[in-house]
């Protein structure tokens, strides 16, 4: 049975200890390296045996919740099962050993996978071209907005530096716009969850570079008047950016390209089930329509007959350029490729079906159990929002308290306090890989929590109770910064 806590790796360290079987032979530093440019004191790295390292990190891992161990309905993150096959086949020794700058002649197997992946992503999004370069969603967004800017610039339309985002947008959207040197214009969302078209009409104009939307939105509903949104923005000379974080909801049902989007990023670590890895890596492949094709970030994989090759600045002189030193998160791309090939055409359509079924079922059950849906009149997409406004008002039990208490019941918490416009927001995304019983068990826990909210709110406010630590002091963490360990310090 796992321990509740684990020492720091540095506390296992003893001078002279080490996993010597992993080290090459000892030798003198070459004399030609100038003494003044050498290191004088050794870095603070642990000196531990291989067993100590293995035991330490194995124990640490056991302190995590994860998809492999827990239901993980973290809204907007699509925590679906990551097939083991994807990891196994992306880690075949041949793939692992391939140098990114190795000759194309010794990379045809890898490049074939990448080319087919590009083609499949085009097919599922309805876009005309795809670049696999971006290394996460946010970098995909960056590439997208940068392409929009490049497009306007190429047309001499230099004033267009405004990016419109609905207030429900993910934080990366406005942050990306800023990184691209744009001005962010927020527009409100109506009570029914759809964008306020009047506000949109009021904000578009000759400065409009484009709009960033995700559809279904982060409110967990499908933007019904998307065609009108597109018409308004396009009429104003702007382009439409699709934040593909929510692609899981509509896979095989509707394509961003058909909705009128000019550019899209896809979170392969969401829709295409590459691992989240405790914070990454992800992959934010971008797809574009006709107009943005010349601007795609490099490298891309092209095909001449039977031969695959890298496309570079020479092939795309108007490209926005490079986003990474090499080829993005190649190993993540291989995992997505394996996943997509396993699902195939049918399997991909089922993703949208069952992700949506699970979300709507869970929404129905939770509302039956007395929770308040943020958008009770709407269908859920692959996710939906519960608001704990009432509980906060009546019992001082916040969304955070509910989230923490769920941990005690063995469930990872939903996303809390995002989107910001919904008070006491719990954004819940079950994904298609969870069984009905898993959803029912979650509902059962939520029912118990509802009872506890009435009978013992303090229990919730002090939750979690059964985890390795109780609720942590975030304020202290930010005030008394302790970001690196120094010998002889404890928190």
């Amino acid at each position: 049975m796992p321990q509740r806590s684990e020492k720091l790796i540095f506390e296992y360290s003893r001078p002279g200890r080490g996993a010597a079987g992993q080290w090459p032979a000892r030798a003198e530093v070459p004399a030609d390296l100038p003494a003044t440019l050498r290191r004088r004191t050794r870095p603070l790295l642990p000196e531990v045996s291989e067993l100590e390292a293995v035991r330490h990190f194995t124990r640490l891992s056991q302190l995590n919740f994860s998809i492999d161990t827990h239901f993980y309905p973290l809204g907007s993150c699509t925590m679906k099962y990551n097939p083991k096959a994807c990891n196994q086949y992306a880690m075949l020794p041949g793939f692992l050993a391939r140098h990114p700058l190795g000759p194309e002649s010794r990379g045809q197997g890898f490049l074939a996978c990448m080319h087919e992946l590009q083609e499949m992503l085009k097919a599922v999004t309805g876009m005309r071209g795809v670049s696999l370069a971006p290394m996460a969603g946010a970098q995909g967004e960056f590439a997208g907005v940068a392409m929009i800017r490049a497009y306007h610039r190429a047309r001499g339309d230099l004033a267009r530096n405004e990016i419109i985002v609905p207030e429900a947008a993910h934080g990366t959207n406005p942050a990306t716009a800023t990184m691209c040197g744009c001005v962010v214009r927020e527009i409100p969302v109506r009570a029914d969850g759809d964008v306020d078209l009047d506000a949109l009409k009021a904000v578009v104009g000759p400065n409009t570079a484009g709009i960033m939307l995700t559809n279904p939105s982060t409110l967990g509903v499908f933007e019904r008047r998307i065609k009108e949104v597109a018409a308004i923005v396009h009429a104003a000379g702007g382009l439409l950016y699709y934040d593909g974080a929510n692609l899981n909801a509509i896979l095989g049902k509707v394509r961003p390209g058909d909705m009128g989007f000019d550019v899209i990023h896809m979170n392969l670590h969401k829709t295409f089930s590459t691992p989240h890895g405790g914070g990454g890596p992800g992959s934010g492949a971008v797809g574009v329509g006709e107009r943005l094709l010349p601007f795609l970030p490099i490298p891309l994989v092209g095909r001449d007959g039977e031969h695959y090759r890298w496309l570079s600045e020479r092939d795309l002189p108007q490209s926005i350029g490079r986003l990474s030193a090499f080829m993005g998160n190649a190993g993540v791309l291989l995992r997505a490729y394996v996943y997509m090939r396993m699902l195939g055409r049918e399997g991909m359509s089922r993703v949208g079906d069952y992700a949506t079924l699970n979300a709507n079922y869970l929404l129905a059950k939770l509302t039956q159990a007395g929770y308040d849906a943020a958008y009770p009149e709407r269908r859920a997409s692959h996710e939906f929002i519960i608001t704990a406004r009432r509980q906060a008002r009546e019992r001082q039990v916040t969304a955070m308290d509910i989230a923490k208490r769920l941990l005690d019941y063995g469930f990872h918490a939903p996303t809390t306090y995002f989107p910001l416009l919904v008070p006491e927001c719990l954004l819940i995304e079950p994904t298609e890989t969870e069984s009905r019983e898993a959803l029912d068990a979650f509902v059962e826990a939520m029912v118990k929590i509802a009872q506890e909210t009435e009978s013992n709110p303090q229990l919730l406010k002090e939750a979690p109770h059964s985890l390795p630590v109780r609720r942590l002091d975030d304020v202290r963490a930010a005030r008394q910064l302790d970001l690196v360990w120094r010998p002889g310090t404890a928190a």
């Binding site: 996993a19 946010a138 394509r255």
Partner: protein, 457 residues
């Protein structure tokens, strides 16, 4: 259904609970004309058996040639323990530790990582990774602009011997915000930054100077002099470093009188396989005074309600999910899994192991340079001290030679023709502790033969 657990009964009962007649009906808010019926262009699904065969064939197709390229991605020995642990579901299939109490494993790993990277670079704080070395340089440039309040120019000096791809990524990323990257020349005899050229910028408003150590040619810069010179200009210093080299080279925190201000680099050499270029991870470290300008996740140690030690994401007010358009960066998902790999790698190597890796890589490269240098038509391009890469000058174009070597299952190095045409026929080669004397001799023999054949043709 692959990866979907629903039985027909489940579907029926779930629809009943929802009050919907069919799954199809759940999509009734989508305008009908937008709906598609099938994903043409996506092939039929494959079973794991079938995809396994396909992938094995693809991997086999690319073979396992003997590799002598570095150029930013280095083939080092990775202890089996690293990926055996990293592949554990609790690490592989968790996400960003938003729920700290349910993520102490990830959080503590990050704290340990931050400690190791801060010490390795000689800085006070580290973040929890950026995407890769190239994007880390771009973020460092943006950060320097934020951190250097006195400088208004947004102008950075970047030597042309900084990794060419990194320079491109910086321009792509920071160009839209109006940052200007002006080149600094390098000296033809040494391959090192022209310190005199740097000094000529005296009096200008320079936000930051970038220094790569070892530089793209593998050469060791006089970082003390460059750092002091940059600081004398009133600029911040952004160091781009190879983490393995820091086991034996002076850490940026000790460069010159005051040390570098921001340190970035590619973390791949620390336990991450080459894997066609990714996923790798960028690292970033800085002084405590700049921590609020740093992009990316940061973990702090704190206490829980009972006073027990624990770890949590901190300084989140810098990040996009709180500060949105005013965040330090748009980064959200980072390279956590690779961070874990590096933390385990550094734990297993320790100071002694890492030093040996660095030393042996340096020695092997010297052996390589000597062996190749004996081949007719090949000589070293620069005289400077180097770490584990060096530039060789050829007496004829490099590309056909590399093709001939590839046919012998040898990846000979990185052809500098595209990025440094001024160097003529030049090849960047690298050897690490993974290369044996026999490997090096095999390369030298194959090269001699390829050049003989080229001369004969």
């Amino acid at each position: 259904m692959p990866f979907i657990p629903h039985t027909d009964d489940d579907v029926r009962e779930m629809l009943a609970a929802i009050g919907a007649p069919s799954i199809e009906a759940l999509f009734d808010e989508i305008p009908r004309e937008l709906r598609i019926q099938s994903l043409n262009g996506v092939p039929e699904g494959l079973s794991e058996l079938e995809i396994g065969r396909l992938m094995s064939e693809r991997a086999r197709q690319d073979g396992r040639p003997l590799n002598f390229i570095g150029a930013g991605a280095y083939e080092h020995h990775i202890p089996s323990a690293v990926w055996a642990i990293v592949s554990r579901g609790e690490i592989y299939s968790a996400y960003t530790p938003y729920q700290a109490e349910a993520s102490q494993g990830t959080l503590q790993s990050i704290y340990e990582y931050q400690t190791m990277m801060a010490s390795l670079t000689g800085m006070q704080v580290s973040n929890a990774t950026l995407y890769d070395g190239g994007s880390a340089l771009a973020e460092a440039a943006l950060m320097a602009v934020r951190a250097h309040r006195k400088s208004a120019s947004q102008r950075l000096l970047v030597p042309a011997n900084v990794h060419p791809h990194y320079r491109k990524v910086a321009v792509t990323t920071a160009g839209n915000q109006g940052l200007v990257f002006d080149p600094l020349p390098w000296l033809r005899d040494s391959g090192r930054v022209d310190a005199a050229a740097l000094a000529r910028h005296a009096g200008e408003d320079i936000t930051a100077v970038v220094i790569q150590q070892p530089n793209f040619f593998g050469a060791i810069e006089d970082v003390d002099a460059l750092t002091d010179a940059a600081h004398a200009l009133g600029a911040l210093v952004i160091a781009v470093v190879n983490p393995t080299s820091l086991a034996i080279l002076k850490p940026p925190g000790e460069w010159g009188a005051k040390g570098a201000d921001i340190v970035v680099g590619e973390g791949q050499p620390l336990g991450v396989p080459l894997s066609s270029g990714g996923p790798y991870f960028g690292f970033m470290a800085t002084r405590m005074e700049y921590v609020r300008q740093m992009p990316g996740r940061i973990v702090g140690r704190t206490v829980d309600l009972d006073g027990r030690e624990g770890f949590a994401l901190t300084l989140q007010a810098r990040e996009q999910h709180i500060r949105r358009g005013k965040a330090t960066s748009n980064i959200c998902t980072n390279q956590g899994l690779l961070m874990t790999a590096a933390t385990i790698y550094l734990s297993i190597m320790g100071p002694e192991g890492l030093e040996r890796v660095a030393t042996q890589s340096a020695l092997r490269t010297r052996e390589l340079v000597a062996a190749l240098g004996r081949v007719q038509g090949v000589r070293r391009a620069f005289e400077s001290p180097y770490f584990h890469e060096a530039v060789l000058q050829f007496d004829r174009p490099v590309a056909p030679v590399l093709r001939a070597l590839a046919e012998r299952d040898i990846i000979g190095g990185f052809d500098l023709a595209d990025d440094y045409p001024e160097l003529g026929a030049a090849l960047l080669v690298c050897a690490t502790e993974t290369k044996t004397t026999a490997d090096i001799e095999r390369y030298a023999a194959a090269l001699a033969e390829a050049l003989r054949a080229a001369r004969a043709a």
